[in-house]
């Protein structure tokens, strides 16, 4: 299913429509947004490269010097080089706070290597530093915007992570940048990464709203507030840092939402997607309008329930067995027979109901005698 995301990005925008936009959302409990982002970017890249030999990447680096500090330091001569190795295809963005300038910079970059023609490029925004270090397309710096063109004159564009941007600017200006990019006729797709727990729900929702696809990353289990002092919990938590769930919601043109979910495992900073064998209903359920609880059992459910063999039931070949419960005091032991018999009637009526009736072996026996009350257990 991760492929379908990449496919949608590859296919790009149709004429007269906004470019597809993918929002990748993760949280501190399962911080694999970057891995997914890298995966999508690599896929997109290889898609382009596969078809068209002359494609290339341009990296607009907003990681190295987002506020222009290094440039200023260089100017006053206190440091010698501001960025590690400036590769040919990298240019620096030195003021992440001015998004209008950033937008024109993106377009300028995109146009620059597209040349004339009707081609489009894609934008990936990411200010996360680890990206290029761990990623397929080398270069020591973090790329904020990644653009490529393809020979077809139909090109793609990918956009990266916006959380960093949001720290410096307002929600509305980031949202403005994204929608400007989407509606620009040179942009074929946009995608970005969002750390949902950095932001207020309102902000995160705004950026999800702008997307045409929303990929959210969740942890496998919810070990909320598990004390970390026993080894089992530790391994549970450790587990969470290796794998997680991946849900994608496609907002389709016809108004339906396609929901897909997968599991992934992170191996050596690469991410591996696996389809989930048993589709749990949680996703579907969230779409179903709220209805009231069903307290009745359907016929099928009743039959199914009757099939369950309860503990001890096998001892009497189906007949219910009376078992001394060892807990009732002698006093209420006297009255045992009464409720028991009435319950027994019930049981006979519907032997499939699976009730367990406890009986004392004998009433004259003290409950706390030496004899092990569990002697007759046969499990």
């Amino acid at each position: 299913m991760a492929e379908s995301v990449s496919r949608a990005l590859r296919d790009g925008a149709l004429d007269g429509e906004h470019a597809p936009a993918l929002a990748i959302k993760d949280s501190g409990d399962s911080p694999f947004g970057l891995a997914v982002f890298s995966h999508v970017l690599t896929q997109l890249a290889s898609n382009v490269l596969a078809g068209k030999s002359q494609s290339r990447f341009v990296v607009l680096d907003c990681y190295t010097d987002p506020l222009g500090w290094k440039e200023r330091l260089m100017e006053c001569g206190s440091i010698t080089n501001s960025s590690p190795k400036v590769s040919v295809n990298t240019s620096l963005c030195k003021d992440i706070r001015d998004l209008d300038k950033l937008f024109s910079l993106i377009l300028q970059q995109g146009k620059g290597f597209l040349g004339e023609g009707k081609s489009r490029f894609s934008v990936a925004i990411d200010s996360e530093p680890g990206l290029s270090g761990r990623k397929a397309h080398g270069g020591g710096s973090l790329c904020l915007i990644d653009e490529r063109a393809d020979l077809d004159l139909m090109s793609n564009l990918s956009l990266g992570k916006v959380s960093e941007m949001l720290r410096h600017t307002s929600t509305s200006s980031v949202a403005g940048l994204i929608s400007n990019l989407r509606s620009h006729n040179l942009v074929s797709c946009v995608f970005w990464l969002l750390h949902s727990d950095f932001h207020e729900i309102r902000v995160a929702a705004a950026l999800e709203y702008l997307s045409s696809m929303l990929a959210s990353i969740e942890q496998m289990t919810r070990p909320n507030d598990v004390p970390r002092d026993n080894s089992q919990n530790i391994s549970l938590l450790e587990h969470n840092y290796r794998r997680g769930k991946f849900h994608v919601r496609f907002k389709r043109r016809n108004g339906r939402v396609r929901v897909m979910s997968e599991e992934f495992q992170v191996e050596q900073s690469r991410i591996k997607f696996m389809s989930v064998s048993s589709e749990d209903g949680t996703i579907a359920q969230s779409l179903v309008p709220k209805v009231q609880f069903n307290l009745q059992l359907s016929e099928k459910e009743k039959v199914d329930r009757a099939k369950v063999v309860l503990p001890f039931e096998h001892q009497g070949n189906g007949r219910s067995i009376d078992i001394y419960d060892g807990r009732r005091s002698l006093n209420d032991g006297k009255s045992d027979t009464m409720p028991a018999s009435s319950e027994k009637v019930q049981t006979n009526e519907d032997s499939g109901r699976g009730e367990i009736i406890y009986f004392r072996d004998s009433d004259d026996e003290m409950p706390d005698s030496d004899e092990d009350p569990d002697d007759d257990l046969d499990i």
Binding site: W69, K70, P84, G130, D197, P227, R228, D229, L237, R242
Partner: protein, 263 residues
């Protein structure tokens, strides 16, 4: 004793931290502590490891919490002479105890940004100089601590994050490691506290020092939880691992042991 102290080293994969290897990217370590269990001893431990006589690694230390003499006294007890290391240019100390942005003098308006910018300039210069001095040298930038830096920046966590971002660029540019201390309990009452959340994202290794859930005990001073997001198991694959163990601080040494492994 050797065995027990290696528990932390093993969880941290310290060899990977102290010896730079091309396969292993630089690392960001976050130490989180609280009032009851101070995490300062982890910084001291790391400092000692980085400055071990067998390596030529250098430490750039940005102190908001204590003056040089404080660290010097503690490290001396642990068998590491910071004065000598400072003279060897292996230990660069920035005393930021009095740093305040904006400056209080009321005079020439020193904005928060320009104050932190100036500090960053000093750090980058120090890193540059010491990376030129000896190639293949691993440089570690340590910040003690982020919460006080926030106070110095008059509560502007955004500026602190900008600063940290720039420190982070040093990890990609020079292959530095970055070690920071953050008092987590300060933020426990705040929702979406910027600093701990964002630094946790940046960090490859998170070390949490907490009191025992059951309260304090005489022979256990607290527990450490180490989450190593990119543990290198030596066979060329990396995966995250998590360790939890107890510790006891003694006069010159800290003992680490697994829960229940001591009588």
């Amino acid at each position: 004793m050797d065995r027990s102290s290696s528990l932390l080293d093993e969880a941290l994969d310290l060899d990977g931290l102290t010896t730079p290897s091309p396969s292993q990217p630089a690392r960001v370590v976050l130490v989180e502590d609280c009032v009851e269990t101070s995490g300062a001893f982890i910084l001291h431990h790391l400092m000692k490891r980085f400055l071990s006589p067998h390596s030529s690694n250098a430490v750039v230390f940005v102190a908001f919490a204590h003056p040089f003499s404080h660290y010097e006294r503690i490290l001396r007890k642990m068998g590491c002479n910071l004065v000598v290391q400072r003279d060897n240019n292996r230990f660069l100390f920035f005393d930021m105890l009095m740093l305040e942005c904006p400056g209080l003098d009321g005079g020439v308006g020193q904005s928060i940004e320009s104050g932190l910018f100036a500090l960053y300039g000093k750090i980058q210069k120090a890193v540059e100089v010491s990376s030129l001095a000896e190639s293949k040298r691993n440089i570690t930038v340590m910040i003690d601590d982020l919460s006080l830096m926030e106070v110095a920046a008059n509560g502007s966590s955004n500026h602190v994050m900008d600063f940290l971002h720039y420190c982070h660029t040093l990890t990609t540019q020079f292959g530095c490691s970055l070690v920071t201390l953050c008092h987590e309990d300060i933020y426990s009452s705040t929702e979406r506290a910027t600093i701990p959340l964002q630094v946790e994202y940046l960090a490859d290794v998170i070390i949490k020092a907490e009191p025992l859930a059951s309260g304090l005990a005489t022979d256990v001073h607290g527990q450490l939880t180490v989450l190593n997001k990119g543990f290198y198991d030596g066979l060329g694959s990396s995966r995250s691992k998590m360790r939890n163990f107890h510790y006891r601080i003694k006069e010159n040494i800290v003992e680490y042991f697994y829960p229940g492994s001591r009588t």
